[in-house]
């Protein structure tokens, strides 16, 4: 018996500039785009109705930055927002979204005042004093701030009490990690152009700074000593990562070639109790010059070694360890083209000039168990060689291990200049929503309505939201841990990290798409390397895993 299999080739036809302009067949150029076989989620922009009114703006110093911190500042486990404003004051929005409903936020005073509340380029949440209340590292043009969370979304500046010198630099990147045995986190601040240096801005990148906690105090860290990570090459994103499964963190820094001279992308080793050391060519590190804007990291092939997406102007890079690499030799090769994530120019509209990528983040937006990649896009200001209309990307992971662009189909392709961003489940319905901070335009807030509409949201795949805790220990939130979720024969892993993206960080439930699995087994490799036993959990639930607990706690939103 013979069967003729029906082969369906799905393409999206995009008419490019000449067709639109001519309105005739003359010059018609049709570009075929693959259609996603994975389900495309629908996003509905509802910033205004949600009560979000915020613009990141300002002169040249705020062409970059524009970050958002996503975290729970009032203990209700719903993600709240702290948004950088550039010349405008930073904003704090408290999440009041009904479960599964329209997004709703209430503005609350940051308490920073005019002087400290302006000049903010980005922010990252972390609990630097282990008190269970989320704190903030605020990046600024000028003095950076460590804000101690007081609960109820109130903060106090803790620079003085932590002996932290916020400096005067133009700070645009951040990452943090609890080093082995440390009671408090090590902080890395990445700086951009030194505007006061002769010849500025060309070739005048600031050094970056590393703050390792000093002293023996148990109630708060002492950041009185800063180490320079020199040379700095105008960092726009940095991320502590255990790239080689050594258990010892390294610091990846993505740098903007626009301003450095002789610079490159960087990786710093961070040996315990010894100064940080940059990997060099002799160590296997290969020279790469890009307009590095944002780092996203995920272990796509679950080999224990994370892949890194690096946004830039033009091609986005996707790096994986090369066959020549080993645990001491960080040789990476670019697989962006074969995976379909170069995202090098707008995928819709008439502008064929190269894209400008900023925040990047791996998440599973359709809960099909495949990682997706979001990239915020937008012209720096009015750079003529780069696309003016440059919509954000939503690259959906496919079952053949590639990605397919769906930004326009999903509804996120707005004519705005994206910068920082984050994906989080703001209405606790199991679908990741999206916030994007745009330069010189209103911040966007998209509700993910799954397969449905704003009026009738519909779920996609099954999902699991995981919070991990180390009760009565330093590093309560388990930064540096790895969470492994097993469904059938498939394992999905993600690291608990602070850093990366573009000036934007988050500390919320870790979200996993489970596809058609109705249950999963979760294991945690805690930051000290110990593995937990396997926790058996059902899908479509928030779970809390306390280190050492026999079973996971469940959590339900109101």
């Amino acid at each position: 018996m013979s069967h003729l299999r029906k082969v369906t080739t799905k393409v999206i036809t995009t008419l490019t500039a000449s067709a639109f302009l001519a309105g005739t067949s003359l010059g018609l150029h049709a570009e075929e785009r693959r259609a996603s076989l994975a389900p495309v989620p629908h996003f509905v922009e509802e910033a205004a109705s949600a009560g979000i009114s915020h613009t990141y703006d300002g002169p040249w110093e705020f062409f970059v930055g524009g970050g958002v911190a996503i975290f729970d500042c009032n203990g209700d486990r719903r993600p709240d927002l702290f948004m950088a404003g550039g010349k405008n004051p930073a904003s704090l929005y408290v999440n009041q979204s009904p479960t599964g409903g329209a997004l709703t936020f209430k503005a609350q005073d940051t308490g920073l005042g005019d002087r400290l509340g302006t000049g903010v380029t980005g922010a990252y949440p972390l609990d630097f004093d282990n008190d269970g209340k989320m704190d903030l590292a605020v990046l600024r043009l000028g003095e950076n701030l460590l804000l101690k969370g007081l609960g109820e979304c109130r903060f106090e500046t803790a620079n003085r009490s932590l002996a932290f010198d916020g400096g005067k630099e133009w700070t645009t990147a951040f990452s943090a990690l609890w080093e082995q045995g440390a009671a408090f986190p090590t902080l890395a601040f990445g700086n951009y152009v030194d505007r006061s240096a002769p010849g500025s801005p060309w070739g005048t990148c600031h050094d970056n700074f590393l703050f390792r906690p000093q002293g023996t105090a148990t109630d708060r860290p002492d950041y009185s000593e800063a180490a320079r990570l020199s040379p700095g090459y105008c960092a726009l994103s940095m991320l502590f990562t255990d790239w080689n499964r050594s258990g010892e963190p390294s610091l990846r820094i993505s740098n903007d070639r626009q301003y450095y001279r002789g610079g490159e992308e960087q990786l710093w080793a961070l040996p315990a109790d010894r100064p940080a050391r940059a990997y060099r060519r002799a160590d296997g590190w290969r020279h790469l010059k890009i307009w590095g804007m944002g780092i996203a990291s995920i272990d796509l092939d679950v080999d224990g070694y994370p892949e890194f997406a690096l946004t830039s102007m033009g091609d986005t890079k996707l790096q994986t360890l090369d066959d020549e690499a080993d645990e001491t030799v960080p040789v990476y090769r670019d697989i962006a083209f074969e995976k379909g994530v170069t995202a090098h120019r707008p995928y819709t509209g008439t502008d064929l000039r190269p894209s400008t990528g900023w925040h990047s983040e791996f998440q599973d937006v359709n809960n099909d168990s495949l990682w997706d990649l979001f990239i915020a896009k937008g012209n720096v200001e009015a750079m003529p060689d780069f696309a003016a209309y440059d919509p954000d990307n939503l690259l959906l992971g496919q079952w053949d291990n590639t990605f397919v662009e769906t930004g326009d189909q999903s509804g996120i392709a707005l004519e705005r200049r994206g910068r920082g961003a984050g994906l989080a489940d703001f209405n606790m319905d199991g679908l990741l929503d999206l916030v994007v901070v745009n330069r010189s335009g209103p911040a966007s807030l998209f509700r993910n309505t799954g397969a449905g509409t704003a009026e009738t949201p519909r779920p996609l795949g099954n999902w699991l939201a995981v919070e991990i805790q180390q009760p009565k220990m330093a590093n309560l939130n388990g930064v540096g841990a790895k969470v492994s979720v097993k469904i059938g024969t498939k394992t999905i892993v993600r690291d608990v990290q602070i850093g990366g993206g573009h000036a934007s960080g988050q500390s919320t439930f870790l979200h996993f798409g489970l596809g058609v699995s109705e249950r999963a087994q979760v294991r945690v490799r805690w930051p000290d390397g110990d593995w937990s036993h396997s926790y058996r959990v059902f899908a479509n639930t928030h779970v809390i895993i306390d280190r050492g607990a026999e079973s996971a706690r469940l959590w339900y939103p109101e």
């Binding site: 013979s2 003729l4 299999r5 076989l37 053949d400 099954n462 058609v516 706690r553 959590w555």
Partner: protein
């Protein structure tokens, strides 16, 4: 909708006339001798027709349950395992049929046939179940690779699912109330869980919205009552059907194995795409759901009637009805497909415009069921839809499995519903106990006291209990 294009083929008929195969007659009715089983049925059209469509659904469901699937319509899964989550084989299967890892049956009714189609099965119809992920091609009945189970009867399954849905709703409402109170009071709330008179342990709700579910008993921690399979691990007939059609026949439902969740319409690699549509799965669900509830033997000789009456009284007195409850009350007789608690991979209410509704009150066998003072139908299942530890070191016959299934310990099983047990020998979850006395004596664990009481009865009383149980039969 199936999307298969068959190549042209020409056959020589008995009379010597050349006839064309079906594929060259698009839209034409199949030949009377056509070997295929599957027929089209559109879900949305069926749902919109309301009660008028019920019999058509049931008729197609019976056809699909009793028909023998052909490769032409998708039987076989050369590249897929039997697992409930779409899983590729490491290597193609050598044989299409294989008694352990499957395909292990050509039709549903080739196992579910005692005493009628839809019923239980003899030992020869046992099924081998495992998690199915790591040992996709197991070829041994050694319990370290799979668990061997008897075939369950599906009679009365619709009422069972309706009961389970109401119990799930009850328990979840109790959970919500506890959380609400804990949040309002700012203090932990301990909530006893109980529905239809069956206790399910307790949970502790904390003011921050977190739950300690370590005290939950006899049900999964998500408080979804899963009433199907001997372990109680399937929430609905629909979920069970989608699982079983793949495992036993290699007939893959689009809603689980289709492009949306696997990236291909032919996940099992047999060159037939989207083998079962949502409408066809609904037909299978409808037929199974509307199989009549088992009843009692009629026209028994007086001696059996008397013994059975006494036995029923003794059955309660020995403590057997602690778990094998005579009946559970059911509020609603409207069976909606899909059901309310499905996850992705099984059709969900949010996936359809309108669910298919089957009004069970239309069936004479439902009308004949007793009702309580509140007007609720009393479903005479002789069960509690709860899991119990049923074996221990002293009595390990019913704990003979080595693999836990879906988070359920190996010696824990759902209370077997005893309605129809007079028609479904052999007994026990492996179908390897030939008499009712044997299976009663095999009870350990939580059933130890009741079993001891039974054991202490004199032979006459034991026979009365057997007479009672043997009077519970499956009727058509």
């Amino acid at each position: 909708m199936r999307k298969v294009l068959f190549s042209s083929a020409i056959f020589l008929s008995l009379s010597g006339t050349i006839v064309l195969a079906d594929e060259d007659r698009p839209g034409a009715a199949p030949y009377p001798w056509d070997e295929t089983v599957v027929r089209e049925l559109d879900f949305d059209t069926t749902a919109s027709r309301g009660p008028d469509a019920t019999q058509d659904l049931i008729d197609l469901g019976q056809r699909l349950f009793e028909g023998k699937f052909t490769v032409k319509e998708g039987a076989g899964r050369p590249e897929a395992t039997q697992a409930i989550v779409p899983t590729k084989r490491r290597r193609p299967s050598q044989t299409m049929f294989q008694r352990m890892a499957g395909l292990d049956a050509n039709a549903c009714s080739s196992c579910h046939n005692v005493p009628f189609s839809g019923g239980a099965g003899d030992f020869t119809a046992n099924v081998f179940v495992s998690e199915g992920f790591e040992s996709a091609d197991f070829d041994t009945s050694d319990p370290q690779f799979s668990n061997e189970r008897g075939t369950n009867s599906m009679f009365g399954a619709g009422l069972i699912e309706l009961l389970a849905r109401e119990m799930t709703a009850d328990l979840r409402a109790q959970r919500s109330e506890a959380l609400k109170k804990a949040r309002a009071d700012g203090a932990p709330v301990t909530q006893a869980l109980e529905t239809k008179g069956v206790p399910f342990g307790k949970l502790i709700a904390h003011p921050d919205g977190s739950l300690d579910v370590s005290g939950v008993e006899g049900i999964d921690h998500d408080l979804t009552l899963r009433p199907f399979s001997q372990k109680g691990v399937f929430a609905s007939l629909r979920q069970f059907t989608v699982n079983a059609m793949n495992q036993h026949h290699g007939m893959e439902a689009e809603e689980r194995f289709g492009t949306q969740w696997t990236g291909t319409a032919d996940f099992d690699g047999d060159e037939v795409e989207d083998e079962l549509s949502r409408g066809q799965i609904s037909a299978l669900v409808a037929w199974q759901a509307t199989l009549p509830a088992p009843g009692r033997k009629k026209d028994l000789p007086a001696v059996w009637q008397d013994a059975a009456a006494k036995g029923e009284e003794l059955f309660a007195r020995t403590g057997c009805t602690e778990c094998h409850r005579h009946s559970l009350p059911l509020d609603s007789l409207t069976f909606l497909d899909p059901g309310p608690y499905e996850g992705a991979g099984t059709l969900r209410p949010t996936d359809v415009k309108t669910p298919i509704a089957i009004d069970f009150s239309r069936f004479d066998w439902v009308k004949a069921l007793p009702r309580d003072e509140k007007g609720r139908v009393l479903v005479p299942l002789f069960g509690d839809l709860k899991r119990h530890r049923i074996a221990d070191a002293a009595r390990d016959t019913l704990g003979n499995e080595l693999l836990s299934q879906r988070f359920v310990d190996r010696d824990v099983f759902l209370t077997a519903e005893l309605w129809g047990i007079g028609s479904t020998a052999p007994y026990g979850h492996r179908g390897d106990l030939t008499t009712l006395d044997e299976v009663i004596e095999a009870h350990g664990g939580e059933a130890t006291e009741a079993r001891k009481t039974y054991s202490a009865l004199d032979e006459g009383d034991k026979q009365s209990i057997i007479a009672f149980l043997r009077s519970l039969e499956i009727t058509q």
